[in-house]
């Protein structure tokens, strides 16, 4: 039986069209984009074509886009780059950010920057008023993600951007999870810096970009040959950049129909999961990505469910892919005020381009049995569960 992949929020497969577009840039057009000869110029053209394509999609200028090695690097460049350019000051973020943001912020705290980690409500939402309340005279940057990777909650970034603009504070958003599904027009959204990557949109892994609005002063993290307008030295990953642009182009083209299709599948999965007693859908019921379903099932341990599903050929996740490395229940769910028992029993099913109705049916066929088996062997009793 073919395995079913419900972990598209961790990463997606490279789609055929993208792979085809990338292929010539490994061995045929292998040149270094900085070289002045024909081989180099071929590669340079490819990188600049990609940049132009993406600039059109994001509604920005080409020289506002810096290619990087992925989401983590873009986030680091955005936050540290601004911090280093200003040398000191206060940064606002929030508690359910990806570790790329949280760990960067924690590190900056050690370097003497002041950080505010905003609380979220039970749906994982931050309110623009909260941001406004915490902006100080020395606030240099606000970084709030577009959509959450664990629970799919979509933050009101347009409104937050407006608050930031009013107070003349820079605003960065980590849009890695949003790129395939939401509005990516940086002018319409009014943002100053935005991170996206290839690995969540059927593009290659290890490539991403940072949009930096013209005029913003930022320090590079990588020094060297001065590529990417001097903001990111190192020979460009030409095939990855070509693939990334192709992936984003296709994602934007198919967005409307794909969002519709996934929303219907998502509804179907959610109503199936709701038939499992003592389970709860996490995140916001409406303000959520169309491909993310995060559920807590009381009294079962998420990892145990995940491993039993794996044995049935179904790939899911207990939260972020990174959470396999730590013991703590998800920092996202705990920030939303969830109890340990519920947070530890959380599972994420992230749908994608290849998800079909019959995959959801198969999941719903095996999951209730697994839950029953684990609940039956659990000393946490039903009475407690119900009361």
């Amino acid at each position: 039986m073919k395995s079913i992949y419900f972990d598209n929020a961790a990463t997606t497969p490279v789609r055929k069209e993208v792979f085809t577009a990338m292929k010539p840039y490994f061995s045929t057009y292998f040149g270094n984009p900085s070289s002045l000869h024909a081989k180099g110029l071929e590669a340079r053209d490819a990188v600049e074509e990609a940049r132009k394509l993406i600039a059109e999609i994001l509604n920005c200028a080409t020289d506002e886009l810096i290619f990087t090695s992925g989401g983590t690097e873009s986030v680091n460049l955005a936050i540290k780059g601004i911090a280093f350019a200003r040398k000191k000051g206060h940064i606002i973020t929030q508690k359910t950010e990806h570790d790329a943001v949280l760990e960067t912020c924690k590190w900056l705290e050690k370097q003497g920057f002041e950080l505010t980690y905003l609380n979220v409500d039970e749906f994982g939402l931050v309110k623009p008023e909260q941001v406004e309340k915490h902006i100080r005279k020395d606030t240099i940057l606000v970084s709030i993600m577009y959509a959450n990777n664990e629970i799919g909650t979509i933050q009101p970034i347009k409104e937050i951007a407006e608050v930031c603009r009013k107070h003349e504070v820079l605003f960065h958003t980590d849009a890695c999870q949003a790129a395939g599904y939401l509005d990516m027009d940086v002018k319409n959204l009014g943002i100053d810096l935005m991170t996206i990557n290839g690995s969540k949109i059927y593009g290659p892994k290890g490539v991403g970009l940072l949009f930096i609005k013209k005029g913003i002063e930022i320090e590079p993290l990588l020094h060297g040959g001065g590529q990417e307008y001097g903001l990111r030295s190192g020979t460009e990953n030409v095939p990855a950049i070509v693939g990334f642009a192709k992936a984003l182009e296709l994602a934007q083209k198919e967005k409307v129909t794909e969002v519709q299709r996934l929303t219907a599948l998502q509804d179907r999965l959610v109503s199936g999961l709701q038939r499992i007693a003592d389970s709860k859908l996490n995140g916001h019921p409406q303000k959520r990505l169309p491909n993310n379903v995060n559920v807590s099932i009381y009294g079962v341990e998420g990892e145990a469910v995940l491993l039993m599903l794996n044995e049935k050929g179904i790939c899911a996740s207990t939260g972020s892919a990174c959470s396999t490395k730590s013991l703590e229940a998800s920092h996202v769910l705990l920030a939303m005020g969830m109890s340990h028992e519920m947070a530890h029993g959380s599972l994420r099913f992230s749908l994608g381009k290849h998800t079909k109705e019959k995959d959801i049916s198969r999941l719903m066929k095996v999951l209730p049995g697994i839950v029953k088996k684990l609940r039956d062997m659990s000393p946490i009793k039903a009475e407690v569960r119900n009361g």
Partner: protein
Amino acid sequence: MAEKKWFYTDIVKEHFFNPRNILKTDKEAEEFAKHADGVGEVGSPICGDVMKLWIKIKDNKIVDCRWQTFGCASAIASASMMSEMVKENGGMNIEDALNITAQDIVKKLEGLPARKIHCSVLGHKALRAALNDYFCKTGQKDRMVKDEKHTC
């Protein structure tokens, strides 16, 4: 179905999917509890998972050892392995059982990742709590394990 790739060792897998001495349902647990000589329930201070374990004692030996858990795969495999170790050859004597270490269990499971070592002791903590319960009920307070909280 084709064999799926598995993150932990094969022996962890075997015990996770076929846990030994587990009480599969509440009913089984109730039945066993009626004749148990001691019961212990502990939570992991690290992750908050829960293990409950019942024992039967005869001639200072643990002749039976059953358990239930709200725990991860490593905790399930470890408790399963430990229960087998304890029951081997007609039952381990109490002193030897108290001396089982995390390393003993991990070794038998052919390894666990570092972050999962705490899971391997959850079953053993529950065993010590169950033994305290037994010592307590049988008026052997002097034998109680100090680090496992239990009030008579």
